[in-house]
Symmetry: C2
Subunit: 117 residues, 2 copies
Amino acid sequence: MKSQSESKLRCKMEIAKTPKPPYYAVIFTSLLENQNDGSYSQMAERMEELARKEDGFLGMESARNEVGITVSYWRDLASIKKWKDNIEHQEAQNLGRNKWYKNYKVRIAKVERDYGY
Amino acid sequence: MKSQSESKLRCKMEIAKTPKPPYYAVIFTSLLENQNDGSYSQMAERMEELARKEDGFLGMESARNEVGITVSYWRDLASIKKWKDNIEHQEAQNLGRNKWYKNYKVRIAKVERDYGY
């Protein structure tokens, strides 16, 4: 059964309003372990809340079915590094590797062009 | 109610097995119109099937709640351009703009670094 916070997490309705490129994207893809006590989605919400406060944060998009994809957008590599080194985020990363993720992949990419409406 | 093909589309269980960077990512984010007769998910499956046959295609990850995120990975900008110009894909893009998408955004990004397991 989905927890309430998990449902909330799964219902984000925004496409990130990013500035004109270039800027950076962190593409985070994960498969969760089958056993999940709901602590994952609480952490994910908390991490989003924290990320939004970081200098250089430009936006975030997130969806999960079996695979979860979270793309966060950043002004530059320095702001990505600073967020990666955030103490609370470090703890979440450790928990992720040790407890939540069956597999995960982080890709750091420079957005060169965008279009759409 | 979800159609069967839509459910299938929403249950992809793979993290793309991409080569060592650099390579390219196309981050496609969309919000669908509320009225959806199921033709969207059929088209999405067909597009994935076609993309996988393209020269330079490296992998694809997809998830949808309210926001849908599809990230496809490509060898270089030339292979992305070729896929964008594929006739059947062009038709799908037109239908998307005219019928399915409330909003969408395409971001073309060069993956510089990745990690994970």
